[in-house]
Amino acid sequence: MSYLKPKLHHPGLPTNALGLTRFDYDGAVSTLCAGCGHDSISAAIIQACFEIDLPPHRLAKLSGIGCSSKTPTYFVGASHGFNSVHGRMPSVLTGANLANRDLVYLGVSGDGDTASIGLGQFVHAVRRGVNMLYIVENNGVYGLTKGQFSATADQGSKSKRGAVNTDAPIDVVSLALQAGASFVARGFSGDKSQLVPLIKAGLKHRGAAFIDCLSPCVAFNNHAGSTKSFDYVRDHNAALNRLDVMPPRAQITADYAPGEAQDVTLHDGSTVILRKVGAEHPVGDRVAAMNYLQERQAEGEIVTGLIYLDPEADDLHAHLGTVETPLAHLGTGDLCPGSAALEAINASLR
């Protein structure tokens, strides 16, 4: 395949439970600008997939249109990818998930893709509880079309050309909470140690998992006056927690003092360990999460970390009562009722 890089593996590279190395989760060479935050997110996704022993071909990665939406080409090359149309990834992902509930679904989107043209689809996929991890690579601008403000740009923030954004921003985290996402987090492309575990936990969560990942655009939104630049985000980041994701049945060695951490068991038996570093935040309380976000925001802080988690959540398939076998795997015998049933229907129509 054209996007596969030649693989020269060092024999000493660490392998995961599948015997794969981190390089087995690589994709094509990125064509994004050097230093683009999106590339750091791709690296974090690669790391996360490697660490949770995800068989690469069991990942389905879907995106819309934009620099961010190009990134699925740059990670996990052995999985199927789908660049759909601008803002419409959520519906395509929903359909894909309906067809085969056994794959792991990763939706990658931009803030333009999600908060402008795709706002409706984003909210609806979340409210349906589609089992996915939806990542917004949020840079506050339209990167691919060269620097227009996106709907997440803060009011008063400045564009590279000096224009001031006069519109109020849409906070996609608040929206995801409001719409009923059962896993809501915010990360920062410049903080990989926080982001990787978030992605791991999001991929493992059953239900609609959402990560808003601040991802500065070095070409159009990394200057003074921008509230999505590396420096600005670093200075205003209020990390809520750090987390670890432990696989099922793995020995959990506690290296934290009691009272500073909280365990949450996910559907597949793995454990999310939350280490509090910021304020005490009840991660299972949606209303508290919304209030906390608003409070910190009023203080000019950007809250990062796992903001809300409902470990009991279920997904669209549960709501629709579909069979365990992926619908895509059902054959003629399962689906076609046959001529006898049709004859009975004919009889009822006479």
Partner: protein
């Protein structure tokens, strides 16, 4: 007064009602009672796009000869709507009949000399018999049904049976319905000259045919065709496709042991999401469809281009209505042909299947799912409101149990494991259809990237002009392959050799059949071709070449099928004479026969040629 019409088993009754007055059930009972006497009928609902208050009509064509289209004209008008009185009375053929509620007398100016007026004090009878105001309104309808049964000589027992069937399980509703029926019958038998010249006589002309709505049959076709994912957004007249799909799936597609569903139906947030879900589902190996109408098709354009270019199967049921824009949402047309055939920006061409009746809706829906998988492309089922939302008498639905779902060219784990070479957009077999692999199939082989952007034959992103051209040219060749797979046109030779031909499609079929007989009786013989798909079969162009005069009959203003024929067959537009009907009501035999004979008379040249042949 002109001669009263006398016709047995061959007439048109029209009911003029007010939407929301509960007349639908009585009118349907009337239609079914004639069917119950073994006489074929066809019915047409003409209704407004609101819920209450506006006028609605229900037309019943009674035809032992089996004409199932609209004839045109009215022999007996049941005028229950004061608002449309003048228009309704005017529409009665000379010698016809007018049945009305005579509770409040009307001035003579409100009537016509050349028709028979049958007044029955329906309100008065209903008010005397029933106390509850809602019942009074509802049973007024059953009372006129009773009157009609006496006037037209319909067997009371047949109606009684139908009422029994209809209210099975709600038995206490049976008695008052029968009471209302008999009140009407008794009044008519006592006060009117029963039966009138129009009569129903028991016959054996229905056979084992079924009486079914097109949308219901389409939904069943989707069940039989193996669709597991349906995503839709409500829009008249397509909504009942999704609703019927849910109904049939709940009955036929539950896992017996677990009670879980072998289907997923999502009411999407809009048509963009609906088609997006379909595309996601088919990309991932399920069979999926959406049902919509013109405005929904407009919204889906961007995604349809993606599905075409990225070669993803999708079935779109378009139940056409009157456009453009919101147009006439509850009236019928065939005006989405061009929008669907060339949907989306850039160079696109899509496969259309065009059913003539519910039976073909069933067949073509299942076939569309096969074809979409086989061709890896969107396939449109071009139904319309007339077929979709009316009950049609048609041959029973049939299914061959040896038939399996044609999933097209999909490489399996075993094939990939065995080293079968794979390049997503390579034309391996020379039919321009590439192979695909469902996501998640093989750990090492077969993964590819799906995108709406230009790519090379291995699905790698490519902005090379040569890659682009090779790809879009292959898509054109794939369309040629489609031509060999879609249903061929149905060509009928006239009883005598003729140089006149007529092309038509879809719901125009039954009216066309009757128009041909009318024309033939007048000495005009025509060969006909019913087009059933786009791309057009080569026979379609041969048909045009073999006739000097070719009429193209369709239900839209711009002669859309004609445009497609001209475009695709490089045909001189002058060779194709449009016959167009687009007021939103289903086309009638009278209209078609009238237009064609008029045009032929106007060009005496052509008529002479025909007569000479």
């Amino acid at each position: 007064m002109s001669q009263e019409l006398t016709r047995i088993n061959d007439f048109v009754v029209k009911f003029a009602n007010v939407n929301g007055s509960g007349s639908a059930s009585a009118n349907q009972l009337f239609a079914r009672s004639i069917l119950g006497m073994g006489v074929p009928i066809s019915t047409r609902n003409i209704f407004p796009s609101n819920i209450q208050g506006l006028p609605t009509w229900y037309e019943v064509r009674v035809s032992e000869a089996g004409y199932l289209g609209r004839r045109g004209g009215v022999d007996l008008m049941v005028a229950m709507n004061p608002q449309t009185w003048d228009k309704d009375v005017a529409s009665i053929d000379p010698g016809g009949y007018l049945l009305h509620d005579s509770t409040k007398p009307l001035p003579p100016s409100k009537f016509r000399e050349d028709i028979t007026v049958l007044g029955v004090p329906l309100t008065e009878i209903a008010n005397r018999a029933f106390a509850d105001p809602k019942q009074r309104q509802l049973f007024k309808n059953i009372i006129y049904l009773g009157v009609l049964s006496a006037l037209l000589d319909i067997e009371r027992g047949v109606i009684e049976d139908l009422i029994g069937k209809q209210y099975k399980g709600k038995d206490k509703l049976i008695a008052p319905n029968i009471q209302a029926l008999d009140l009407g019958r008794a009044y008519a038998l006592e006060h009117l000259d029963c039966p009138i010249g129009l009569r129903v006589r028991r016959a054996d002309a229905v056979g084992d045919r079924i009486f079914v709505e097109g949308n219901d049959a389409t939904a069943l076709g989707c069940v039989y065709g193996g669709a597991t994912v349906a995503a839709w957004y409500p829009i008249t007249p397509s909504t009942s496709v999704a609703e019927a799909f849910a109904k049939h799936c709940n009955r036929l597609r539950k896992d017996k042991e677990t009670g879980r569903n072998r289907f997923a139906i999502v009411q999407a947030e809009d048509e963009l999401a609906a088609i997006g879900m379909v595309i996601g589902a088919t990309w991932n190996g399920a069979r999926a469809f959406t049902a919509t109408s013109g405005p929904g098709i407009s919204l889906m354009q961007e995604f349809l281009g993606l599905a075409y270019f990225a070669e993803i199967p999708a079935v779109i049921v378009d139940v056409q209505r009157g456009g453009p824009s919101t147009g006439m949402p509850t009236r019928t047309q065939q005006s989405d042909l061009l929008a669907c055939a060339y949907a989306s920006h850039g160079d696109t061409k899509h496969v259309l299947l065009i059913p003539e009746d519910p039976r073909e809706c069933f067949e073509f829906a299942a076939r569309a799912l096969d074809l979409a998988d086989r061709l890896q492309t969107p396939v449109f089922l071009m139904s319309d409101l007339d077929i979709g939302m009316n009950h049609w008498l048609c041959e029973p639905l049939s299914w061959d149990d040896t038939r399996t779902l044609d999933r097209g060219k999909v490489l399996t784990f075993e094939e990939l494991e065995a080293g079968t070479p794979f390049g997503r957009y390579r034309d391996v077999d020379g039919d321009a259809i590439p192979y695909r692999v469902y996501p998640g199939t093989h750990p090492k082989r077969g993964a590819f990237f799906t995108r709406g952007t230009s790519k090379n034959a291995d699905a790698g992103y490519s902005e090379e002009g040569s890659d682009y051209v090779a790809n879009v040219d292959r898509l054109l060749r794939k369309f040629e392959t489609a031509r060999t797979l879609v249903p061929a046109p149905v060509i009928r030779q006239a009883a005598r050799p003729t140089r006149i031909g007529a092309i038509f499609y879809g719901s125009t079929a039954p009216a066309m059949g009757e128009a041909l007989d009318v024309l033939e009786a007048a000495g005009i013989h025509m060969d006909t071709m019913r087009v059933r798909a786009f791309p057009f079969h080569e026979d379609a162009f041969r048909f045009i070449a073999e006739h000097d005069t070719v009429f193209v009959v369709e239900q839209n203003r711009d002669a859309q099928l004609r445009t497609l024929l001209v475009n695709q067959g490089n045909i001189d537009p002058k060779r194709l004479i449009p016959v167009l009907h687009y007021d939103g009501t289903p086309i009638t035999a009278r209209f078609i026969a009238g237009e064609i004979s008029h045009r032929l008379a106007a060009s005496g040249d052509v008529a002479r040629k025909e007569l000479a042949s």
